[in-house]
Amino acid sequence: MQAECVYEKIDRKLMTKPFLFFLLVLLASTVVIAIRFAKGLGFVSNMSDGYPWGIWITYDVVVGTAFGCGGYALAILIYILNKREFTPLIRSALLTSALGYSLAGFSVVVDLGRYWNMYGLLLPTRWNLSSVLLEVALCIMAYTLVLWVEFLPTFAERFGIDVKKLEKVTMVAVILGLILPTMHQSSLGSLHLISTVKLSPLWHSSFLPLLFLVSVVLMGYGMTAVESLLSSYSFKRPYETHLLKKLSPYMIYLGFGWLILRFLDLIFFEKMKYLFSDSFLSVMFFLEVFLFLVPSVLFWSDRQNLTPRRIFIYSFLYVLGGTLYRFNVYLVAWSPGDNWVYFPSFMETLITLGIVSLEVLIYLVIVKKFPVLPATQGVK
């Protein structure tokens, strides 16, 4: 299904200075991961009985998989709205998605206290069908597999296997790739429906699944633009500005759409009164709203003269907005009581940095060894 576009590998040296830096971070975090398994979660992390979920869940899983929704967001455009012109962007977006999801899965293994019982998630006899987390876990596992299948043509092309043979398989993968993220990305919001007492009313809402879903598609486009510009910049390739410009209207719709939903919820459920009730949470709320509002307004007003720099900044603001929204729901506005505090420890943060580094490393290896990025016009 991707044969209509030509891709190329970036023929460049692998061992660069940044590569070595990320390798070093990865090594350091491997040591900390070993300590975590030897001594227990409390030894490396600041998580507590009050805050049983820290940045590993919030950043690596919830935000990490949201970063990895570029593939999903583009698939909506390409396969549902039939906007084939975005096809050149799909491979690198799929790669980021596959990596984001795989490493989210890996950090869950680090985070699970009783990882040796993990196989139980695959035993239907143990399934608790009322558990939102079960749905999230199964969907994420399935989708990670789907992402790699969707990415298969890239490997196949490299090894000279006929891509056409894979089309039937990838077709099914594409469909699952549209359904599974819709399910689990909204359910990542549903996970906190049960926090009726602990999540601030400014965030706790029956709209949680919808707000998570809308913002994840927005983050997907934002991340696609950021990643495309970043790799063009660092590999000194021409910017894909013409395509990214076409993404901006969708981001504007989603940005304003999300804001409307956010305030509809506050108005409909009479929660406007909480807007200024807590100075810190109020600041976080407005920061979150601004991170959705500002890029939407700027994308709109600059629509005639969008430069790569502007697209990068505005898309990045959206990604930040979605990230802050997720942090607010999972950590900032979620409170077990005044006697508990949480801030990630150094070692805990190092594990997260190590996982991000691993993601960057694998990305670099694959784009340099396999045809992922669209061929530049001068070459082909």
């Binding site: 001594k39 709205l81 206290g113 990882y115 399934w127 009322s130």
Partner: protein
């Protein structure tokens, strides 16, 4: 001409299909708005519970000691390593006596905390692998170590901050009160804490009978008690019920203001609602498959 017509119908078809798919998506993800139902339950007569009367408690902490002994829990030593000095529920303290002051600060009151054994427990609803269970015969909420994966979603979900985790261990457990189901109860027919209490502040028995008892006490001593049984309706009702004096409100005893609808019921009504509307999800799969095939024939 013929070709043009074909394109036209295909477009029309796609438009229809897309609007269909979009409205399905909108309905499925749009949460149901009629959720303001008040739900609390009258559990079966044979479900156990406890009644804690804070006006009777003398704060001797015998219950804390008896619980540790019955359930084989280590002490949390003070700086001289002599006394057990737990100040809150932890992975080695399944029940605790706390002291609170009234709003004015003139009256203090003890309160015993342990698992509330909710009628519709959030932890049981949350657990992905059925490691948290509500025993159908006794109504006791208990944990199964052979299933638990240590995801700690039960701790997130519990509005009473009950399940605790062994953070300092390489092979940790989730720890919470199980009304002595696996220790003292089978042999003695009563929980260790209720058995040992010298002040009669903790009574073990059938939850519905204890609720009647609590209401009778309020009726008999309307000047003494706050006319409210905490746990009758809170969070869908709890197995452990509380009485407090007029001077100290339940808020001041450290209990959350929790709506009558259980967090589990709230979460499930929206989450399951989404999928009930989506039913069958395969329909969507089919529609998308068809759409892709169409799109791909270009």
């Amino acid at each position: 001409m013929k070709e043009g017509k074909n394109v036209e119908t295909r477009r029309d078809f796609l438009k229809k299909l897309f609007t269909g798919a979009a409205s399905v998506a909108a309905v499925t993800t749009f949460p149901s708005l009629s959720l303001a139902k008040t739900k609390y339950y009258y559990p079966p007569d044979y479900w156990y519970g406890m009644l804690y009367d804070s006006t009777k408690c003398i704060g001797c902490k015998s219950c804390v000691v008896a619980c540790k002994k019955a359930n084989n829990l280590p002490p949390e030593l003070d700086e001289y390593r002599i006394y057990d000095e737990a100040t809150d529920l932890t992975a080695s303290t399944k029940t605790i006596i706390k002291v609170y002051r009234s709003e004015k600060g003139d009256v203090s009151s003890f309160v015993k905390r342990q698992c509330m054994h909710c009628v519709d427990p959030a932890c049981v609803s949350a657990c992905p692998v059925s490691a948290m269970n509500k025993d159908e015969k006794t109504g006791i909420v208990y944990w199964r170590g052979d299933r638990c994966i240590g995801c700690r979603y039960c701790m997130i979900a519990c509005p009473f901050e009950v399940p605790k985790f062994e953070w300092g261990k390489a092979f940790p457990k989730i720890v919470k009160c199980d009304l002595c189901l696996s220790s003292y109860l089978p042999k003695n027919g009563i929980t260790a804490c209720a058995d040992v209490c010298p002040a009669g502040a903790i009574i073990f028995g059938y939850r519905n009978e204890l609720l009647e008892e609590a209401k009778t006490r309020i009726k008999r001593n309307p000047d003494k008690y706050l006319p409210h049984v905490y746990g009758e309706k809170e969070g869908g009702g709890t197995g452990v019920l509380y009485l407090t004096s007029k001077a100290v409100s339940f808020r001041n005893l450290g209990f959350p203001a929790i709506p009558d609808e259980s967090p589990a019921a709230y979460s499930e009504s929206i989450h399951h609602g989404i999928y009930r509307t989506l039913a069958p999800p395969f329909l969507t799969v089919g529609a998308l498959y068809f759409l892709l095939k169409r799109n791909n024939k270009e």
